[in-house]
Symmetry: C4
Subunit: 264 residues, 4 copies
């Protein structure tokens, strides 16, 4: 029976397993919707109570599921410390935490992360392949991105301080260096809220330079990721040479020369 | 005579066909302009009446055209359910819908989509090729873009909730989780209206991290599309099928099947 | 003497020619600076008069230069209708136009375009090569960019109208369809002023979708230009095969096989 | 002993050297934090005094370190004029400068630049390689980026003036040409603060065109950097010189000169 439950919960090949996974998706989306409704202002006391009760029901359901998962897997500890095991736990804790710290129960939206698992279980392998493709490209460029981020951080600290020195006396929102660094991030990333904006001529000139820098800088991470994704594609041809006609450029899956038909 | 009308309406090789297509473009642009003028505030009653009448005239013209199209095509149902058939219908309905629901008649701007067809009819094949080239690149990367969008949606839900927990007590516009998710979208896409902006130190720090993340994330779709467009250039595979083993995906310069060595 | 003046004005090989070109750069920047100073609020009457006189002096200088150019070139009409001939004329007209239409004399900033010519004359060929490289990449992708722009325009018209229908009753700035289209452009390009922003739940949801669309769409022109620039690089190898060892991948400038030394 | 101190300060192979470097990182971050705290409004007099004393202690420590560095290196002048030597000096000066000019002591955040050196010393060679890789890509495309920036500057001057002519009478913030140029930069880079935004129909139309132009233009630097990064990968040319004809630019796999056929 333990094996049967395992198949239902962890696999998706049987009909029961599929039904379980779809119920889980529905329950997760339902649960996230509850939290959103709860946050809306101007709701009646009664409505709030219903939402509260529903949240507890969902939480208990997830708690039971978590306990069953722990029970049916062969290595409970390995599951509990795995990526998805931690997410499953994080999906339950906030409701209980909300009893102690007001507002924290809303962190149940972390349940949304569980959707990542369900997609895995549903054998959407095609999507998973693409995701891992993207992930590998990001991993492969993590050094370049690290260097880039480090440089950006040093830049925003220096630029923020410069703007604070220039603008702080003009009541334009640059009230401290941390706030000015926040402005530098907002500007360099081209978000541009406008809650803080320079008003002096010197400040606006520096801001203009920062923006054009940001314009050039935005090219860097894009270039890194694109170069990585393009490189991945090129990896699909081998350097193999046909023994008969010496032609090159054969695909990895080729077993015969595409020019003369000779076996590779 | 039916064939003659068909040639005029559906083809653009004859002089009459060309005149028809150009009139259609003019009429569409005229009709969209009417709706825009109608929406302008501070217009007199008389002017409004004229616009209203003009809109009905154009709508009746389009209705007649639609009926004629249905009449002259060999398979009316196939036309009616085709992409352009649906657009042709959508170009008429809103005016009648406006009799029931106020404001909805402005959806006649959907007529602008008809311009897509006219371009096709005008045999701007060069443009069409480019469009289909771009379209194929987008289709080819739909899995990667799907994974990307799904991840972004989970991210904005979690980030929005975090910001709501942090900022909701400080009267800075984060009045509910849906609104905070809207803020997260505005920020992550680097749009940055500034209608909602964090005011607490913690909120601004998290916002800064979200922005730098958005900076890195914006690289991903660009990288995907670029890699796809670059690949397309290199892509010299044909749709040729090997007569012996039925394998596909042969390069343009291939003369033998790369899997079995059979002559193509 | 006519030839001598020609050499000074149109060429930059002699010392006099170089001095002339540098004076021209200085004069252009000086002239643009005058217009900027003139636009600053709160200047005294006397200062304004000085600026006005200086502008007339510069204009007369440019007028004389234009007349001399016309006089010394072999084909005055061909010069007058060339790209740089038109710019030279545009650099003079606004001051005279300012006598009739108030404010238009500020169009003398079109003089800044003359800097493009001076760079050409200064034989900064390296820069010119790069510029023409970029220009060719843009020209090569003009069809794709045309299709892209056309699609974007249809999209902003439809999205703007939808937002007008949704938001117009809520006093959130969507006062007419043209204004709403302006909002759609501001949002889709991720500029995001925030002067107009949706306030209804439905409007904000649609806005969020528009932003994420804009996020994906921004990838398209970048992908087009990058693919074009990358392609340009690949064009540097030929498909030539070495007659001795059958190796491929030789550079365009190669005269001998890089693997066996055989003449190509 | 001088050699021993040299090893500790300039190298990171010994344990003492490692301890020194880590202390330096901590001290730099501590020092930058002090300046940030100092800029926060609403702090007590006593707290301010403590921060002030701490800053002087750190500055004296950096001063001592700078003197010792000068003393232990073989060529003090070469060190003092090197990139890192100048940064080390810039890290000390602002505190003393602050005695004369109020506010300037905050420039000590330039100390953050020292972190770049520490990373070098910590032998994070992997990161350095990536950084130099990125740097080379940027250097290689400096001409293209130069042309691009020059064009952008001419564009914002002309666009800013046009907007000033259109909008200056409508009290929408376009109070002078320099301010309007600032607006053009804010818009073209898609930052979009919204502190200045067009209000007239003509101004909004022009703004829309500027935005779509910015949309297309943002593709250019990205394309340049990406093409460069992609090329770098393919780039298998060596610095080898042909012994016979002295030609350069041979591919890594080349065994013969591609110009004269001589063996390399």
């Amino acid at each position: 029976m333990k094996q049967k439950i395992y198949d239902i919960i962890f696999e998706a090949d049987t009909k029961a397993g599929r039904v379980f996974d779809i119920s889980l998706i529905v329950l997760i989306i339902f649960s996230v919707t509850i939290v959103m409704l709860e946050s809306l202002p101007g709701k009646s006391e009664a409505f709030y109570s219903i939402l509260n009760i529903l949240e507890w029901i969902v939480t208990v359901a997830f708690l039971l599921e978590y306990i069953i998962r722990l029970w049916v897997v062969r290595h409970p500890w390995r599951y509990a410390t795995s990526f998805f095991g931690i997410i499953d736990l994080l999906a339950i804790i906030p409701t209980f935490l909300g009893l102690v710290f007001i507002g924290t129960h809303m962190l149940v939206v972390l349940r949304a992360l569980r959707l990542l698992r369900v997609f895995r279980v549903l054998k959407l392998t095609r999507y998973i392949n693409e995701a891992s493709h993207l992930w590998k490209a990001l991993i492969a460029s993590r050094n370049k991105i690290g260097v880039f981020l480090f440089t950006v951080i040093i830049m925003v600290v220096i630029l923020g301080t410069l703007m604070y020195i220039i603008e702080s006396d003009d009541g334009s929102g640059f009230t401290s260096i941390p706030i000015s660094i926040y402005w530098a991030v907002v500007t360099l990333t081209t978000v541009g809220y406008g809650d803080i904006a320079p008003v002096t001529a010197l400040g606006q000139t520096l801001a203009g330079i920062v923006m054009i820098m940001g314009y050039a800088i935005i090219a860097v991470p894009t270039g890194i990721v694109t170069a990585e994704l393009t490189r991945k594609q090129d990896d699909e041809t081998t350097t193999q040479v046909c023994p008969a006609c010496l032609a090159e450029g054969h695909d990895k899956d080729a077993t015969h020369c595409k020019f003369c038909g000779e076996k590779l």
